[in-house]
C-alpha cells in the first residue's frame, strides 16, 4: 500500500491538469495584447474594454440572465410540486408516468428536446396565435428541462428526510398547506437553493434548445458565442470567459465558506 499513492497522485494531478488547462489558457490569453486569440502579445486589458463596448454581447448576456432567472424560479416551483408528489403521496394514479416524464428529458439528447418543443410551440401558435417565438418560448422550454433536475434534487432530499415531523404537525391539527409552509419548506430549503442554482446554470449554458425555440431578436449568449466561434474566434470571448469563471469561483468559495461555518456552528451546538 505504501508505493501505490505515488502513481495515484501522478494520475490525479494529470486528470486535474486536463480539467483546468483549457480554462487557464483562456484566462492567460484574455490578458494578451495580440489581435489573435492564441498568440501572446504582451499584457493588456484591451479585450476587457472591447467587451464592455460590445452592445451585442452585453445584450445577449442580459437576455440569457433574464431567461435563466425566470426559468430557474418557475422550475423550482414546478419541481418542488413533482418532487413532493413523488416522495410523499405514495402510490397515486399516474405516478409511473410522472416519474418517467421526469427522467426522460434528462436522458434525452438536447436536439430532440429542442425539436419537440419547437414543434409544440408552432402547433400552439397556429391554434391560438400565441406564443410568438422568442424569449417566451426559450423560457418555457428551459423550464421544462430544468424542472426535471429540480425534481430529482427535491425528491432525494425528501426521501432522506424524516416524515415524522410533518406527521406530528398534522396530528397537532395543522392544515396541509400550513404543514407545507411551516415545516416542509424550511426543511427542504437547501435543496431548493441547490435546485435553483442548478436550473440557473443549465439554462445559462444551453445552446441547442435555445437555438430551436428562439425567434428573431432573441439571441442568447451561447447562441452568440457559437456563431462567433463559427466565423472565427474573437479575443473578447476570452475576456468574457475569464469574468464568468471568476464569478463562478467567487460564488462557489462563498458558498463553501458559509457551509463550513454552518457545520462548525452545528458541531459546537452538539458539544
Amino acid at each position: 500500500m505504501k508505493r501505490r499513492p505515488f502513481t495515484l497522485y501522478t494520475m490525479m494531478a494529470l486528470g486535474y491538469a486536463f480539467l483546468y488547462l483549457p480554462i487557464v489558457s483562456v484566462i492567460v490569453f484574455s490578458f494578451s495584447g495580440s489581435e489573435r486569440a492564441t498568440t501572446w502579445g504582451g499584457f493588456s486589458l484591451q479585450w476587457y474594454g472591447a467587451l464592455m463596448r460590445n452592445e451585442q454581447i452585453l445584450e445577449a448576456v442580459q437576455r440569457s440572465l433574464t431567461i435563466a432567472a425566470i426559468s430557474a424560479t418557475a422550475a423550482v416551483a414546478l419541481g418542488t410540486a413533482s418532487g413532493l408528489a413523488l416522495s410523499r403521496f405514495g402510490r397515486f394514479p399516474g405516478r409511473g408516468i410522472l416519474s418517467l416524464m421526469n427522467s426522460a428529458p434528462m436522458v434525452m439528447p438536447d436536439v430532440m428536446l429542442g425539436l419537440s418543443s419547437l414543434l409544440l410551440f408552432v402547433g400552439v401558435q397556429q391554434l391560438f396565435g400565441w406564443p410568438e417565438r422568442g424569449m417566451t418560448t426559450i423560457t418555457l422550454a428551459h423550464i421544462t428541462l430544468t424542472a426535471c433536475y429540480v425534481t430529482v434534487v427535491v425528491r432525494s432530499r425528501m426521501t432522506s428526510m424524516d416524515a415524522s415531523l410533518e406527521e406530528a404537525a398534522m396530528d397537532l391539527g395543522a392544515k396541509p398547506w400550513r404543514v407545507f409552509f411551516v415545516i416542509t419548506l424550511p426543511l427542504i430549503a437547501p435543496a431548493l437553493l441547490a435546485g435553483w442554482l442548478l436550473a440557473f446554470t443549465l439554462s445559462l449554458d444551453d445552446l441547442v434548445i435555445a437555438s430551436f425555440t428562439s425567434g428573431p431578436g432573441s439571441t442568447t449568449l451561447p447562441m452568440l458565442v457559437y456563431s462567433k466561434v463559427k466565423i472565427g474566434v474573437t479575443p473578447e470571448i476570452n475576456a468574457l470567459t475569464t469574468i464568468i469563471v471568476l464569478l463562478v469561483a467567487i460564488g462557489v468559495s462563498v458558498a463553501g465558506v458559509l457551509m463550513h461555518r454552518r457545520e462548525r456552528k452545528l458541531a459546537r451546538l452538539r458539544d
Binding site: 500500500m1 508505493r3 495515484l8 497522485y9 494520475m11 490525479m12 494529470l14 486528470g15 486536463f18 480539467l19 488547462l21 483549457p22 480554462i23 489558457s25 483562456v26 490569453f29 486569440a37 492564441t38 413533482s82 408516468i97 410522472l98 416524464m101 421526469n102 426522460a104 428529458p105 436522458v107 434525452m108 439528447p109 438536447d110 436536439v111 430532440m112 425539436l115 414543434l119 409544440l120 402547433g123 422550454a141 423550464i143 421544462t144 424542472a147 426535471c148 446554470t201 445559462l204 449554458d205 445552446l207 441547442v208 430551436f212 449568449l221 451561447p222 458565442v225 457559437y226 466561434v229 474566434v233 470571448i237 468574457l240 470567459t241 464568468i244 469563471v245 460564488g251 462557489v252 463553501g256
Partner: protein
C-alpha cells in the same frame, strides 16, 4: 405535473406525428397535414413512411449513427480510464480535502460547456499545448494539429463529461469498506490483485452509472463534434441540426429524432432491466 405532460409528452407525440408527414417547402409549417379532409367531407389519414425509408436507404444516416456510437463509446472509455484514479483518490482523501477535490471537479462544470469547448480549440491547434504534447510522445507528426480530427472530438467529449463519470464513481468508492483491502493484503494479495479482485468488482455500480451518464448524452452531442471535429465528424445530432436549420426538412428531422430515441434509449432501458435482474438474483443467492 400537468406542465410536464403539456411540455414534454405532447411535444413528443407531435414529433412522432410529424415524422410521418411529408416535407413541404416555403410554407409554415413546412409539412403536410396528417388528416386530410376530402371533397366529400370525409377525413382520411395519410401516413408517409418515406422519411423512415430515407433513413434506411441513405448510407449517410447509418454512417452518422455509427459515428455517434463510436464517438460516445471511445469517449466513455477515456472518461473511465481518466476518471477512475481521480475518483479513487477523492474517495481515499481525508474528509476536508475530499470536499475540496470534489468542488474542483465540479467547478469547470459550472461554467458554460460551449466556452470550455471553445477553450480547447486553442490547445488543439497546430502549435497548441495538447498538439505539441502529443507530437512529443510521437502520437502525431510535429506541427500537425489535432483540431478537426476525430481525436479532437474524443478529447472534447472526455473533457466535457469527465465530472459525470467521476461523481458517481467517487460516491461508490467512498462507501467501499477499505478493511477488505487490508484483509486481501494480509492474505498475501499484491496491490494490483487486491484492486482487480476487490475494488474493481465492488465499484461496478458506480462504473455503470457513470458510463450511462456519459454515453447517452454523448451520442446526441451536437456542439463538440461541430466545433472540434472535421467535416467527416458527422454525428446524428449534427445531421438533425443540418436537416432542420439548413435543409428545413422538419419531418425528416423528426424521423431522425425518433430513430435516435429507439436506438439509444431502448437499448439503455433493456440494459438497465437486465442489470437490475442480475443484482436482484445475486441478492437472493
Amino acid at each position: 405535473m400537468l406542465w410536464m405532460a403539456l411540455f414534454f409528452l405532447v411535444p413528443f407525440l407531435i414529433v412522432l406525428k410529424i415524422s410521418f408527414a411529408q416535407g413541404l417547402f416555403g410554407q409554415v409549417p413546412p409539412y403536410t397535414p396528417l388528416i386530410e379532409t376530402g371533397a366529400d367531407g370525409a377525413a382520411s389519414l395519410r401516413l408517409h413512411a418515406s422519411n423512415y425509408a430515407a433513413l434506411l436507404s441513405d448510407p449517410l444516416y447509418i454512417a452518422a449513427y455509427l459515428k455517434s456510437l463510436l464517438f460516445a463509446s471511445v469517449s466513455t472509455l477515456f472518461c473511465l480510464l481518466l476518471g477512475y484514479p481521480i475518483a479513487y483518490g477523492i474517495a481515499r482523501a481525508p474528509r476536508v480535502l475530499r470536499l475540496l477535490l470534489l468542488v474542483l471537479v465540479i467547478l469547470p462544470f459550472w461554467t458554460s460547456s460551449l466556452l470550455r469547448t471553445y477553450a480547447l480549440i486553442g490547445l488543439l491547434r497546430a502549435n497548441g499545448l495538447i498538439s505539441q504534447a502529443l507530437a512529443w510522445t510521437g502520437l502525431i507528426e510535429p506541427g500537425e494539429a489535432v483540431l478537426h480530427t476525430d481525436l479532437a472530438v474524443y478529447i472534447g467529449i472526455t473533457y466535457n463529461y469527465l465530472p459525470f463519470m467521476i461523481l458517481p464513481l467517487a460516491a461508490t468508492l467512498v462507501r467501499l469498506d477499505f478493511t477488505l483491502l487490508e484483509a486481501a493484503a494480509d492474505l498475501g494479495a499484491k496491490p494490483w490483485q487486491a484492486f482487480a479482485r476487490v475494488t474493481l468488482p465492488l465499484s461496478i455500480p458506480g462504473i455503470i452509472a457513470g458510463t450511462l451518464l456519459v454515453f447517452i448524452p454523448a451520442v446526441g452531442e451536437f456542439v463538440i463534434p461541430d466545433v472540434l471535429g472535421g467535416p467527416d465528424a458527422l454525428t446524428i445530432g449534427r445531421v438533425l441540426w443540418t436537416e432542420f436549420f439548413t435543409n428545413r426538412d422538419w419531418p425528416l428531422s423528426a424521423a431522425i429524432a425518433i430513430a435516435m430515441l429507439l436506438l439509444i434509449v431502448l437499448p439503455t432501458l433493456l440494459f438497465e432491466y437486465v442489470e437490475n435482474r442480475r443484482v436482484a438474483r445475486e441478492a437472493r443467492s
